[in-house]
Amino acid sequence: MDWGHRFGCMRHVLLTHCCHWQRPGRVRRALALLLSVLLCATASHTGSAAKPREVTSVDAIRHFMEKGQSLFVAARYANAAEVFEAGFELHHYSAFKFNAAVALEKAERFDEAVQRFKEYLDVDASAPDRSEVQKRIERLEQLIAARKASEKSGRPNSLSAASPQQDATKSLVIVETEPQGATVHFFQQLADDAEFATGVDHPGFKLLQTAESAAEVSLDVGKYHIVVDRFGNFNPSEADLEVLPGHVHQLKLNLSQGAFMAYLRIEPNPKYALTYVDDPKREKSAWAKGTHGELIPTGLHQLLVVAPGFQPYTRELKLTEGQKEDISVRLERVEYGVLRFDSNAPKIHVTVDGHPVGDWSNGSRPLDVEDLRAGSHQVSVTAPGRKPVHDTVIVPKGQVQPVHAHMVVTPPRGAAWTQSIISGVLLGTGVYLGLESNRLYSELHNDRSAGILVRGDSRESRGKWFSVGADVAFLGGAGLGGLAAYNFVRDPLPPSKLQLGKLREFQSKPAADRGNAP
């Protein structure tokens, strides 16, 4: 890991958004107190001096501060003053009052500006610029008096408004330590080339304020050096900070107990992947879920990243002091998936690749067919009184494929069965009558051959009637048989079908370490 490069990147971020942690020549000390993370966007562990601050609070503070600053820069001073005032109503930080006063001064609403400056001093009794602000109040009061006199005399006012230096707004700096309670010193860098020196004297720097973390300080635009004293067994630490106008700078310092730390950041894909550090059996809570960075002790670590439906990612990682390791992990999906069945039918029976896999009943949980090899599978679904459906379903890798079996009712075949039975009876009757007719015919024929056949033999009429009956029975049987066949085949309803739903990820099942998929 190129720490210099990485630190440069971090520096850039600090200058752009919040603060700048200086890496002085005393690198050892600086590393001993390695800055964890900070920053505006990831202020998940921020808090105020009095009480833990919610992330949303910091965001709101930042919102009002930055919006007021943007209006201020746009010379919409009255509007900027209103936003700063609104910010103060929600969060009683003195910087809001100060900035509102400056904006009102720029709007030449001097009376209100004076009032705001006074309120600023009331809010921040230990304001390091108290004397300057009081002078500013006096100057504004003089200006107000002069303006009134000028209005009475009609002579022009010789007093000028605020100087350019006095146009700058204040920013809010929040310093938090882990653990809290450490003493924090805010030094203002007086010269650009000054370098914070160890010891009691700090040439080029002026101690503005000392507070106990978490500390909230309203600072003017400029460069500062922040020092955290030794706190119990925790080592001291320090950092540079450049305060930008109208910003909220939030810093978090993780105090080290003398052990050297490294910084590890994991960015997994999928983002909900769990990261375990030195816990290959996952017996503890996950180190992180999704993207996460944190100080961890130096040394050899076992990294395990898992996500349902993905093959686990393992890696051994050796971290050295001060090393910052940023790892992106793209997990590969497992080679099997799940089919999840439900249906509109009260009960279905599911077969996959010719093997029964279970039944599903209405009201129960969907039927999950697990451990299916990813790829095409022959799925058959049957339901009593419904048309069966046979189709090919592609099982996704490491995902759940919902399958809704839309089972269409089988058309009733009662009439067809009745017709077929009657047809069968008629055909059987026809066969019987035909055979009887044949028998009688044979008898008559034999009798004729024997010369004894007499006119009016009753078998003649019987045989004819049997023949006619056989004809009628055959025709009726054939007709009804045809009708039955038609009614058996006729199907006005559409076929049943399998409706594939949107793919879903594996849920809580730790499937990553399972094997032997079919």
Binding site: V431, L433, L435, G451, R455, D457, A470
Partner: protein, 437 residues
């Protein structure tokens, strides 16, 4: 294989659908049945045929009725009676047990006729006159006078349908005589076929009565007349009618029980003289016609035993397929003779009404016997395909000469009809009509 069998079976079943094939098989059947009105019962008690100008006619007696059918010259008879007469058994008409067909002759006005009874016209008047009644082919009734002695008896005695009247004629001859007997009247007389005046036959000695069956055999210028005895059940009396119109009692023959219950004549030994067929309860014996003179030699003496006369053959019951009549008695209900094969001697036709046919008891059958190698052999048993119990086919039999061949006619009184068997196994191929195919 099973499928093929099933297909064949199905096809065979489907073939049963063609009902018209029954018309093919039943059109012009070998046996013709004659229709009789529903109000007539017992039709077929007696049958007779006679030649006509249009071929031949068939006469059938029923209870109190006589029916006449036209057989024509071929095998297409009129199956409905062309004439029906009432003969109710009272004095106006006594129906004979055996009606007799007579060929046309001058005596009969050159009409073929059937002699069917005796009756008295104008009963109860001064002009009352008894006569033998005939129905002829022109559908007119004719009559022959009866002896005065019979007229006296007839007018003085009550009669009924049960009063026995018998008649017979010869098997052949251009002029056919007629013999009539009324046993109860002790009267038997003879017509020679030329002179309508009857010739009275002598009375039997010892008050014997005869005439339950009659037969006539022509011999030279005279005739032998055979009459079954009424007073004894095993005797046949013989008369001889001479050419001078005199008659004598020639003798008698004794046989087994019911000997003489049926009589017929025919030429079986092919000697030119008809032979006498006599039925008893179990068989039919053939007595050589030329041997009857030997019986006459014993005239006035005791009857000649059957064993003493020349019996040329006998016909007994024979089991045939579908036919079983041997357990019934009597065997022969009626006998007749005919030349079914149109060559050589005659065949004996025995009506056996008590024969079981295909299990139908007393359905009746007709057995045909041929004389061959000095013996009678059964040739065929004729019955009808519609045989039913108690039809009693064969109660009467006759021979019809149609299409130049003799055919068998049988009465079926149990079914009130008459059957004509147009085909038989003896019929020459050239004589076989479409009915026989």
């Amino acid at each position: 294989m099973r499928r093929a069998g099933l297909i064949v079976f199905s096809m065979w079943s489907v073939l049963g659908c063609t009902w018209t094939r029954f018309d093919d098989v039943t059109d012009n059947p070998p046996v013709e049945r004659f229709d009789v009105a529903n109000d007539i019962s017992g039709a077929g008690q007696s049958v007779a045929t006679f030649a006509t100008a249009a071929g031949s006619d068939l006469a059938v007696s029923a209870v109190g009725k006589l029916l006449l059918f036209e057989l024509g010259t071929g095998v297409a008879p009129s199956r409905n009676a062309v004439k029906t007469l009432a003969c109710d058994g009272d004095a106006s008409c006594l129906l004979t047990r055996q009606i007799v067909g007579l060929t046309p002759s001058a005596l009969l006005g050159n009409q073929g006729c059937v002699a069917y009874g005796i009756g008295t016209s104008d009963v109860g008047t001064a002009t009352a006159a008894s006569s033998v009644q005939l129905l002829c082919e022109d559908l007119e009734q004719r009559s022959l006078p009866v002896p005065d002695t019979f007229t006296t008896w007839f007018t003085g005695n009550a009669t009924s349908a049960n009063t026995v009247v018998s008649m017979a004629t010869t098997r052949r001859g251009d002029v056919q005589p007629l013999v009539v007997s009324v046993p109860n009247a002790q009267a038997t007389w003879f017509y020679d076929g030329v002179d309508p005046t009857p010739i009275e036959l002598p009375a039997l000695p010892d008050n014997n009565l005869a005439g339950r069956a009659l037969a006539v055999i022509g011999e030279g210028g005279g005739y032998w007349v055979a009459a079954g005895s009424v007073t004894t059940d095993n005797t046949v009396w013989l008369y001889h009618v001479n050419g001078d119109r005199t008659a004598t009692l020639a003798g008698c023959i004794e046989g087994s029980p019911q000997f003489g219950r049926g009589l017929a004549t025919g030429n079986f030994d092919d000697d030119g003289i008809d032979d006498l067929a006599v039925a008893d309860d179990q068989r039919v014996v053939l007595i050589r016609g030329s041997n009857l003179a030997s019986v006459a030699e014993n005239a006035g003496g005791p009857c000649t035993a059957l064993d003493a006369v020349q019996v040329i053959g006998s016909a007994t019951c024979t089991q045939l397929p579908d036919l079983d009549g041997c357990s019934a008695s009597p065997y022969a209900g009626a006998i007749a003779t005919g030349n079914l094969d149109a060559i050589g001697p005659d065949e004996l036709i025995v009506g056996a009404p008590n024969t079981s046919v295909r299990g139908e008891e007393a359905a009746g059958a007709v057995f045909v016997y041929a004389w061959n190698n000095d013996a009678l052999h059964v040739v065929q048993g004729l019955y009808v395909s519609s045989a039913a119990s108690d039809n009693l086919l064969g109660t009467s039999v006759a021979i019809a000469h149609a299409a130049d061949i003799d055919t068998v006619v049988a009465g079926v009184p149990g079914d009130d009809t008459v059957m004509v068997f147009y085909c038989n196994s003896l019929m020459p191929a050239q004589s076989r009509s479409a009915r026989c195919h």
